[in-house]
Structure formats: structure tokens, C-alpha cells
């Protein structure tokens, strides 16, 4: 059992490095469509550098596997909930307005980060403070800083 995080770390490291390698190839291919050499030379050099560095990194990783921590022991549904609700908020924003959309993200984050048992008091205090924080920021941005929030 102790072995699996290590393997995950090594394998993941290889996969991520390979991803960067592919990114370098794609970028290099993309530069062929540029019409101006001025805009071509820099990304071309960097892409070649990226391909080079990733190749060296891949080779050394095969010889001496990399010691990275991997994903660790965190709880996946919490991570996912946080990100999904944030993205959901962005998707909903043009339709429902900023505050309700922000509330989606806030609720998601609150549930995701709540590791203790809910009690009547915490429900009241946490959700209450959430509303206060959101309204305060919304007011600050919309009216004091005049950001045109939807």
C-alpha cells in the first residue's frame, strides 16, 4: 500500500513532462503559420528549448525516477466541488447576475471546506458572514470602484 503514492508520483511526473513536450511540439507547429518573422523567432526558440528541456527531463526520470508528492491524501469530491461551483458561477453570471452567481461559488466553497459537523450556530454564522462578505465586496466593486458587474 505504501508503494502506490510513489508510483503515482513517478508516473504522474512522466505524464506531465510528456504533456509539456507535446505542448512544445504544438507551439512549434503553430509558429509555421506566422506571417511575420519578428513574431516567429521568439516562440520558435522557446518551443525548441521546451522540447529540449522536456526530453532531458524525460530521460533523467527514466534513469532516476522523480520524487514528487503526487496528489496526496486529500478528499477528491471537495476539490472538485470547489472548482466546479466556481466554473458554474462563471457560466451562470451573464444570465443571473453577479451576486447570485457568486453565491453559487460561495456555497460550493463553503460546503467543500466544511470539515466539522454543522450545528445550528455554524449554519447561521457561516452563511450569514458569507452574505455579508459578498454584499460588501459587490458594493465596493460596483459602486466605489465602478466596475460594471453584470
Amino acid at each position: 500500500m505504501n508503494n502506490s503514492p510513489v508510483i503515482q508520483g513517478r508516473l504522474g511526473s512522466l505524464i506531465v513532462t510528456a504533456f509539456f513536450f507535446i505542448a512544445g511540439i504544438v507551439a512549434l507547429y503553430d509558429t509555421t503559420s506566422y506571417s511575420d518573422t519578428d513574431s516567429q523567432v521568439f516562440p520558435q526558440t522557446v518551443a525548441i528549448g521546451l522540447i529540449l528541456f522536456t526530453s532531458i527531463s524525460l530521460i533523467t526520470q527514466f534513469l532516476k525516477p522523480s520524487e514528487s508528492e503526487g496528489f496526496g491524501s486529500g478528499i477528491w469530491w471537495r476539490r472538485a466541488l470547489l472548482i466546479v461551483t466556481m466554473l458554474l458561477a462563471c457560466a451562470a453570471m451573464p444570465y443571473v447576475g453577479f451576486l447570485p452567481a457568486g453565491a453559487i461559488a460561495f456555497a460550493g466553497g463553503l460546503i467543500a471546506a466544511m470539515h466539522d459537523r454543522w450545528s445550528a450556530r455554524t449554519v447561521l454564522v457561516y452563511w450569514g458572514s458569507g452574505i455579508v462578505v459578498m454584499v460588501a465586496f459587490f458594493t465596493l466593486f460596483k459602486f466605489a470602484l465602478q466596475v460594471p458587474l453584470p
Partner: protein
């Protein structure tokens, strides 16, 4: 003091009243004025000049915000998705809005932008440092003829007003100069003052801002700029060059005809204010009054000219 404030408010109120009765559209709150570039450029500064006059005349705040990216493309591509109720306007620049979409798909087309007023332009000018060996335009031409390509000139961006002017002038004077694009006029001027380049393709605003530190060899105007009576026009020197970067304002295309008419009228009113005109002229700008009715004709003529120049320069196919 108090009396003046009351008077001002009264004047503003009557103006607002006059506007709201002449057109059905009216302003209900502050206006978001988006500049599709970062702060400090000519677009920003001219908007800042308008800001206090707008507040004084129409009583509402003109809130300037920046939406930089893609040489303006990010802002213009988003314009028609914004609210067309007249409380959101955006600066537009020529030749940018003609050249960019002609080169590549940048998310908007020239004719899709609902431009309602062009209020000024910054005439092209060749700028050198005060201690430059180029005393006249002829000195620069002579040097460029003797050493083709060795006259290095800075300018703001590629396929920009500066770049088009450089290509056009090279052709007219039958010379070859090297154009080095910089990120904005400020950086191009820094390179000039630091003697990284021999001359700069800039605007009359550079001459106004830098004062004694620089000298302009020629300006691309019909007549000499009132701020620089000693600087000749290209026309006087035998080169038929009149132009520069033109700046105006556009509404989202969902805006009603009334809203458009109201805005055109409001910007015209600021533009005819003698104090505003003087401030702009002192800043090196040249005034322009193309309102909504004349816009189509103006845009057509400009577009044709820019596309022709850019095609000849090989910037677009």
C-alpha cells in the same frame, strides 16, 4: 464660489434638459467609457480631457476603464456584446479598426463597429532629438539615400499608423529606412531620447509633450499645427502626406438610433467647447468633427486609403 457652483449646476441642468427633450434617449446614471488600451496613451489622455467637460455639461460621471489586449482587438471584439442602452461607450482608433480585421480574424469587423463620432486625430510626424544632426527633413533623406537601411526609426507597433506612414514616406522619398516597432508611443519616444534610434515616427503630441528635448522635421497635416508654427508640413516639402491616428467613440450596435444621435450630439458639444479645443491643441492633438451623419462617408474614404496603403506595403494580402 457657491454662486458659481449653482450657476454651473443650472447650466448643466438646462443642457441635460435640452438634450433629453431633443432626443428621447437620456442618461440615467454614470457612463462607462472603455479604452481598449492600457493607460497613458493618446487614447487615454484624450478621454481624460473629455472627462471633466462631460461631467460639467451633462451632469453624469464618465468612468474610464481600460480593457487592453491584442492591440485593441480584445475591446472591440467585445463591444457589440455590451449593453446598448447608451451607458457604455468605447474608444475606437483608425487605422487599427481597419487594418487588424483585414490581416487576420480578430473577432470583429470594421463595419460592425457602431462608430458615432470621430473627435480628433494625432497627425504623423518625424521626430528627432534636439541635438540630432538632422536639421531638416532633407538631411534625413540625404542620409538615408547615402546609407540605405542604416537610418533606424522607432515607432509604435507594426501595421500601425506609424508603420504605414514610414512605408508610405519611404516610397515617396525613394529611400530605405529601418522601422523598429515598440510597445506604444511612450516606449518609442524613450528609444529616441536614449539615442537607440536616429529618428522616430510619432505624432505631434510627442512634440507637445517633450517640448525642447525634441524637434519635429515635418507634420502630416493640411496646414501647420498652431502649436508648432515653425514646423513645416510634408505637403509644403513636396510629399503628399496627410494623416495619422484618428480617434473616435463607438456604441454597441444594439443601441437605438436615438441613443446614437444623442451621443453624437453630446460629443460634438464637448468638441466645440473652446476651452476643450484649446486644451487638446496644447496637448498637440488636431481637432476633427465627424459626427454620426458624416461617419459612413468618412469611414469609407479612410478604409479605402488604409487598405490600399497596407496592400502596397505587403502588410495584407
Amino acid at each position: 464660489m457657491l454662486r458659481r457652483t449653482i450657476l454651473k449646476t443650472l447650466v448643466a441642468a438646462t443642457c441635460a434638459l435640452a438634450i433629453s427633450t431633443s432626443a428621447q434617449a437620456e442618461l440615467k446614471g454614470s457612463v462607462n467609457y472603455i479604452i481598449p488600451f492600457g493607460p497613458g496613451g493618446e487614447s487615454d489622455i484624450s478621454a481624460r480631457f473629455q472627462q471633466p467637460f462631460f461631467k460639467e455639461k451633462f451632469g453624469q460621471d464618465l468612468v474610464i476603464s481600460y480593457k487592453p489586449g491584442g492591440g485593441g482587438a480584445v475591446g472591440w471584439a467585445s463591444l457589440n456584446g455590451l449593453n446598448g442602452d447608451g451607458h457604455t461607450i468605447m474608444g475606437v482608433n483608425l487605422p487599427h479598426i481597419v487594418i487588424k480585421p483585414a490581416q487576420k480574424d480578430v473577432g470583429f469587423k470594421t463595419e460592425e463597429l457602431n462608430t458615432f463620432h470621430m473627435f480628433h486625430f494625432t497627425p504623423d510626424a518625424i521626430v528627432v532629438t534636439a541635438d540630432s544632426p538632422y536639421k531638416t527633413l532633407q538631411d534625413l533623406i540625404d542620409d538615408a539615400k547615402a546609407n540605405p537601411g542604416a537610418v533606424v526609426m522607432s515607432g509604435s507597433g507594426k501595421a500601425s499608423a506609424n508603420h504605414l506612414a514610414q512605408i508610405k514616406f519611404d516610397k515617396m522619398a525613394e529611400i530605405k529606412t529601418t522601422y523598429v516597432p515598440f510597445k506604444g508611443t511612450g516606449a518609442a519616444v524613450t528609444a529616441l531620447l536614449g539615442k537607440q534610434v536616429k529618428a522616430e515616427w510619432g505624432y505631434t503630441t510627442v512634440g507637445a509633450k517633450q517640448g525642447d528635448a525634441v524637434r519635429m522635421l515635418a507634420v502630416a497635416m493640411e496646414e501647420r499645427h498652431p502649436l508648432f508654427p515653425e514646423v513645416p508640413t510634408f505637403k509644403e516639402l513636396g510629399f503628399d502626406m496627410i494623416g495619422g491616428a484618428y480617434r473616435g467613440i463607438a456604441l454597441p450596435n444594439t443601441a437605438s438610433a436615438d441613443t446614437k444621435a444623442m451621443w453624437s450630439k453630446m460629443i460634438s458639444e464637448i468638441n466645440t467647447d473652446p476651452v476643450f479645443r484649446q486644451k487638446m491643441l496644447d496637448g498637440g492633438f488636431a481637432m476633427l468633427d465627424v459626427d454620426a451623419d458624416q461617419m459612413d462617408e468618412f469611414m469609407k474614404a479612410r478604409t479605402e486609403e488604409y487598405l490600399k496603403d497596407a496592400k502596397e506595403a505587403g502588410l495584407i494580402k
